[in-house]
C-alpha cells in the first residue's frame, strides 16, 4: 500500500473497527490458509477491497482481481478454495458450485434496467443500439446473458467495460445508445452526472447477486462459510450484498 494512501487506511481502520465491534473477527483467529479469489466489478478499487477482506478474514489468502481474464486464468491454473463472483459466473463453471448466495433486500437477484440519455429506450430500437454493460462473463458469455435480460433472440451489440464507472462515459461520448446496469446503481449515477438520464425498466431482467463457490467435490469448509456469513455489514456492502445464505 502506498504511504500516501492515508484515506484508504482510515477506511480500512473503520471497517476493521466495525468488524471488531461486531465481534465477527477475533484477533486470535486461527490461520485458515485458504485461498479466496474475488472478481466483482465495482467502483471500489480492487486493492482496497483486497485489504478489507484480508483484514476481515485473517489467515485466508485473498486475491481481488481487476480483470476478468486474469481471474479466469488464475482460477484455471491455480484454483483457489473459494471464488466470489457474480452468480452467472459461478453457474457458468461446471467445476464450481455455489455454497453461499448473496442477498440484498431479501432477494438473491437484482433487477437490471437500461439507462439512456434524453429519452427512454424503445424496445424496438434495441437491436440497433450499442449497449454498454459491465463485463461479468467475457466476450462469449455476455451477449447471451444480455440477450436473455433484454428478451431478444438476436445477440445485441455490446460495449463491455471493466467497471461500473466506465458506463457513464459511454453515454457522455455517445458510444452507447443505452447502458444496462443494476437498478440500485442508478441513483449514484444520477448523483454523479448532469445528463438527462432516463430509465427503461425491463421485464424479468434480473441477475444473480454475488455467490461464493467451491470446487465441485471439494470438502465443505463450514468454518470459512461461517466467517463469510459473519462478515460485518460494511464489508458485505463492499461485496454488494446484505447477507450470505446457503442456497
Amino acid at each position: 500500500m502506498g504511504e500516501g494512501a492515508k484515506s484508504c487506511r482510515i477506511a480500512l481502520a473503520l471497517v476493521v473497527a466495525a468488524t471488531l465491534v461486531a465481534g465477527s473477527v477475533r484477533a486470535a483467529a486461527p490461520a485458515l490458509g485458504q485461498k479466496i479469489y474475488v472478481y466483482l466489478p465495482s467502483n471500489v478499487r480492487p486493492p482496497m477491497l483486497q485489504r478489507v477482506l484480508a483484514a476481515a478474514l485473517p489467515g485466508a489468502e485473498v486475491m481481488v482481481f481487476r480483470h476478468l481474464r486474469d481471474f479466469e486464468t488464475s482460477v484455471e491454473e491455480a484454483p483457489p478454495d473459494f471464488i466470489i463472483s457474480a452468480r452467472p459466473f459461478v453457474d457458468r463453471c461446471d467445476r464450481w458450485k455455489p455454497v453461499l448466495q448473496g442477498f440484498a433486500a431479501e432477494r438473491a437477484e437484482e433487477p437490471y434496467v437500461l439507462v439512456s440519455v434524453g429519452r427512454a429506450v424503445d424496445p424496438a430500437d434495441i437491436p440497433d443500439l450499442g449497449i454498454g454493460v459491465v463485463d461479468l462473463l467475457g466476450k462469449k458469455g455476455m451477449p447471451v446473458l444480455v440477450a436473455r435480460l433484454l428478451g431478444t433472440t438476436a445477440l445485441p451489440k455490446l460495449i463491455r467495460v471493466g467497471q461500473p464507472e466506465d458506463l457513464l462515459p459511454l453515454l457522455e461520448l455517445g458510444f452507447a445508445g443505452a447502458v444496462l446496469m443494476p437498478a440500485r446503481a442508478v441513483p449514484s449515477l444520477r448523483e454523479k452526472s448532469a445528463l438527462d438520464l432516463r430509465v427503461t425498466e425491463l421485464k424479468a431482467a434480473s441477475v444473480g447477486l454475488p455467490a461464493v463457490g467451491v470446487a465441485a467435490g471439494a470438502p465443505v469448509s463450514t468454518e470459512m462459510e461461517r466467517r463469510l456469513m459473519g462478515l460485518p455489514p460494511a464489508v458485505k456492502a463492499l461485496l454488494g450484498v446484505d447477507d450470505w445464505r446457503r442456497p
Binding site: 500500500m1 500516501g4 486493492p47 480483470h67 457513464l168 452526472s193 448532469a194
Partner: protein, 350 residues
Amino acid sequence: MRAMLGVILVAFAAGAGEGDASPTPDGGHPDASARGLVDTPAAEGTVLVLGPQIAAANEVVSGLRDELADHYQIVERKVTAATSVEVLSQIIREVEPRVLVLLDNPTVRLYRALQAVQPPGTRFQPAVVLMAAFFEQASAGLQNTTGISYEVPAVIGFVNLRSLLGRPLRKVGVLFRHGFEGVVARQGELAAAEGFTLAGRVLDDGDRVKAVKRGLRRLLDYDHVDALWVLNDSALLFPELLARAWLPVLRHGHIPVMVGVSSLVSAKLAFGIFAVLPDHRALGRQAAGLVDTLAEANWVVGAHRPLLPVAIEKVLNVGMARALAPIREERLREVDRLIEAGAEEGQREP
C-alpha cells in the same frame, strides 16, 4: 527546483530511452526473440503490434490478448524512433499481419515514412493507432488507419473531479496554443453535456513565460474559472515554464488543477491535484473491439472515426484537494492512487 521538474517531466519524453531496433547482422530484427511469436490460434490471422517496450505498452498488449488471443495470433515487435523504414518493411513482410497496431508517436511517424515510400495505389493493411499524443494530428494523412485517442476526454475527468470535491465545478479554464482550437472546441462540446463550460484562452505569441502567465491570469481574474485543465502539450509543460510561469501564478490561484500526467500530481510539486490517465489494459481491450469492427468491415477502415478512451485511472493529491475544499471521503475508494503532502510519491496501489 527545475532539476526536480525535469525528473518529474520525464514522462513526457515519449519513446526516450528505448533501445535501438537496427537490424541484426543476419538481417533479423534484434527484438524478435525478446518479443517473439506467441503460439496462439491464428484462425483469423495475425495482429502485429509495433511500438516501444514499456510497461504501458505491455498493458495495452495484455488488453488486446484478453479479447483477441482466442482468434488471432498476436505478434509484438519493438520499434523505436531509431528503427529504419527498411526494418519495419521487413517485419511486416515476415509477419504478414491482417492488421497493424501502432503504439506511440515515433511508431506512427515510422509507419508514415513507410507509407510515403510505397508506390501510388499501394493497398495498406488496416492500422490501429494507440498511445499517440493528439491522435488526429499524428495520424493525419495515413491511409487505412484508425485508432483511439490517447488523451482522456476532459469531461470524464471533470465529472470525476466534481464528484470528489465538495465545491462547485462549473467553469473550467484551459490554456492552449494556436493549432489546438479544434481540440479544445470538441472537448468543450463534450463537457457541455455534463453542465460544464470550458473557457479556453489561446496563448499570445512571443515570450512563452509571459504568455502563460497572462493567459492564466485572464482565466483566473476575468473568466473566474472554478478549475483548470492542463493539456498534455509538452510545449507548455517543460520544467522552466512550470517553474517560471505556471507555479508562480497558480500558487495564488486556489483552484483545482486537473492534468493528464501522473507525474504532475506530486506532493513535492504542488501543481496538479487530480490526474486522469488512460487505463492501458482497457485501452487494449477497446482496441480489440476496433479490430473486430474492422474484421466485420472486411479490413477497410473507411469512415470509422477514431475513438476516445473510456476507462481511466485516477490520481489524487489528497492534501491539496483537502486544502481547497472538503472532499467526499467515500469517493476516495474509487481513486487508484492517493498522494498526500509530505509523503513519498509515485506509490501506486498494489
